[in-house]
Amino acid sequence: MPEPERPEPPERYEPPAYDPLQPGKGEAIAPTGQGGPIDLALDEAESLEKPLGDDPTGPGPREKARSLWSDAWHQLRRNPVFVIASLVILFLVVISIWPQLIASGDPLQCELSKSQQGAEPGHPFGYDTQGCDVYTRTVYGARASITVGICATVGAALLGSALGGLAGFFGGWGDSLLSRVADIFFGIPVVLGGLVFLSVVTSTTVWPVVGFIVLLGWPQLARIARGSVITAKQNDYVQAARALGAGNGRMLLRHVAPNAVAPVIVVATIALGTYIALEATLSFLGVGLRPPTVSWGIDISNAASQIRNAPHMLLYPAGALSITVLAFIMLGDAVRDALDPKLR
């Protein structure tokens, strides 16, 4: 195409009569009087700003700033799985803080005479071997499970993502060392390790159990964090920040961490459910929480031998445990769907 045929900027054509979409476009360009290049530049500049706000062809309606987090939140709110799971979890958290809201009795007050009796008015879940109210114990048991689950997850996530993130970001021998140490922890069989470590502890609080779960749980989160930091680190925007002269701290905190944290959140949420199950397993085996702490694991353990003559003793704490674990895993699933960048 030889030069002279090039179409000129719009003023060469008759200006559109009236156009609500592009008001005063002709006027905006012509009066510069500076000739082709400036007019073209203006033209091009103007046209580029149009589609986002003023033009219906732009991406979406007149949108305000939408961060990826707020996008994820919008999507989560519309996801029924998330809504159900979070309502269940909210309920569990509330009753673990104020169990007396729905259970007026005392979980430690038992009447041996009512041992293994079925449901009766005021005691819908019946009684256990010791004659304690199963309903009250099930409600109070939530506290131990939720406390252990949340504390262990927070601990493992903080420790794991800090170590994994730093190892992934800096690489080198520290990274190799961390990977090997994590491998060693992976090699510890959970139940066996729990039997050995926790049997020497005499404390009746939840903290030894929390500590043990953190100890075994951090390598999994460290691996996830390391992997996602390495992925995030390779993005051009991290290079761009480096080319601007940004230091390691800024790159890590402002560019890498916010983009690497999503998988850690997802895995940690799912892990929370499994940590609750792990606590129940350890308590069942007698090395986790100990009486007088009320725990579903302990109750399940006590009920297991009586499963034939008093199945209700097992059913209610086990059901509560399953629902709790399921709720957290469902939450993790929903969060993953919302945070997974492949879906957007």
């Binding site: 091009e44 580029l48 700003e49 706000g53 961060s67 990826l68 290079q239 402002r254």
Partner: protein, 394 residues
């Protein structure tokens, strides 16, 4: 002649290939860049072309100090920046900025546009006082043709072309003198590419920028560049003004590269002689001896396997009586047409550095005059009778 603002000498980047888990030992090296020299003058655009794997992106990364060269020097206004660190490096970085290829990965998706463009001011607080930054960011948005009101939006709310403008605004924030653009338009749609190319050209004259423009698209490089360097397997094989490279190429690789570029004109089909190369680019971990191009070259002889051809003006095109220029040193200077007439002789149009023992001119791009001119269309009749009165009936 303006002083070079950037002078690159014998730049080398080798990535070691290692083996073993505990005790890493080097078993070889990928020679990504293997002795590259050029200079960039204030206000000019140097285009660097080459196929994937030729090392052009690695050169870009070394220019902005994202990679440390294995050997060689990069002198910015006479000061070697490859050895700098700390405060001095930070100061230099202000003046050499980069525009990245992929507008989808070069902007942090968790930051607002205002934060992205304002980040340079956080890192270099001396450039703009705190209260002033928001206004500066809005100015920058305006300069690159985006609505300043979009300051609080996130990158994913923009299209590819707009994102690339944001990337350019970030590059401009510190008012650098040099911008290294690594394939800045190749990820964009055809109709948007021209917008961004025009923007870059406008910014160059507005801010007196010097560009190193790296691309694989030879047409765009010709459009924007004053001088062009052609890279193959980690080396510059030919360098010169755009006319010298495109209309008077002397290196066989350049000729093959140019002849392979499809010309958007079906009339050119009959007129073009295409040089179809055989084979693939050799691995940079194990480059051929002598001339790197000899394995695919139709001119290759024994000498090519033994001797590495230097990047120098080929003898045949040297002005008569000119002293044999100290090859690589003078090479770049010779590429400037302004130097040759100073020697008092008219330069041969093909007289520019070319790293080939058998350099010979071969015209492969048909000039505008070579093609039969298309029939001249009738002139426009504004408001003529051709305009359908009631288009709905068409």
């Amino acid at each position: 002649m303006p002083e070079p603002i950037l002078e690159v000498r014998d730049l080398v980047k080798h990535y070691p290939l290692t083996q073993g888990i505990l005790f890493r030992r080097q078993i070889g090296a990928v020679k990504a860049v293997d002795g590259v020299s050029f200079e960039l003058r204030a206000g000019e655009t140097l285009g660097i072309v080459g196929e994937s794997g030729c090392g052009k992106s690695t050169v870009a990364k070394m220019l902005v100090n994202l990679e440390r060269p294995t050997a060689g020097s990069i002198a910015y206004k006479g000061e070697d920046i490859t050895k700098l660190s700390g405060r001095a490096l930070k100061a230099v970085r202000r003046n050499i900025q980069m525009v990245f290829q992929d507008p989808y990965t070069s902007l942090n998706p968790r930051m607002t546009v205002g934060d992205i463009i304002g980040e340079p001011f956080d890192i270099h607080p001396e450039v703009a006082p705190k209260g002033d930054r928001r206004r500066k960011v809005q100015e920058l948005l305006d300069v690159v043709g985006l609505n300043p009101e979009y300051i609080n939006r996130y990158p994913h709310q923009f299209s590819g072309g707009q994102r690339q403008r944001i990337g350019i605004a970030r590059g401009l924030a510190l008012r650098p003198e040099i911008i290294v653009a690594d394939e800045p338009v190749s990820a964009l749609d055809v109709s948007v590419q021209a917008q961004v190319v025009n923007l870059l050209a406008r910014l160059q004259s507005e801010f007196r920028l010097s560009y190193v423009f790296i691309a694989h698209d030879l047409s765009i490089v010709r459009h924007i560049s004053d001088r062009v360097g052609v890279m193959y397997l980690g080396r510059v094989v030919e360098i010169g003004t755009d006319t010298q490279i495109y209309d008077h190429p002397t290196h066989p690789y350049t000729q093959a590269l140019l002849s392979a570029v499809p010309v958007p004109d079906p009339l050119a089909r009959a007129h073009r002689e295409r040089i179809i190369l055989t084979g693939d680019v050799p691995s940079p971990a194990n480059p051929p001896s002598g001339c790197p191009f000899r394995t695919r070259c139709w001119k290759a002889e024994e000498r090519c396997a033994k001797e590495v051809p230097l990047l120098a003006v080929p003898e045949a095109f040297r002005p008569e009586g000119a002293a044999d220029p100290a090859a690589d040193r003078a090479a770049d200077r010779a590429a400037d047409p302004a130097v040759e007439p100073a020697a008092g002789r008219t330069a041969h149009p093909a007289a520019h550095p070319s790293a080939c023992h058998f350099a010979a001119e071969k015209r492969v791009v048909p000039g505008p005059g070579d093609l039969a001119a298309p029939p001249a269309p009738p002139p426009v009749r504004p408001d003529g009778p051709d305009v359908p009165g009631s288009p709905s009936k068409e």
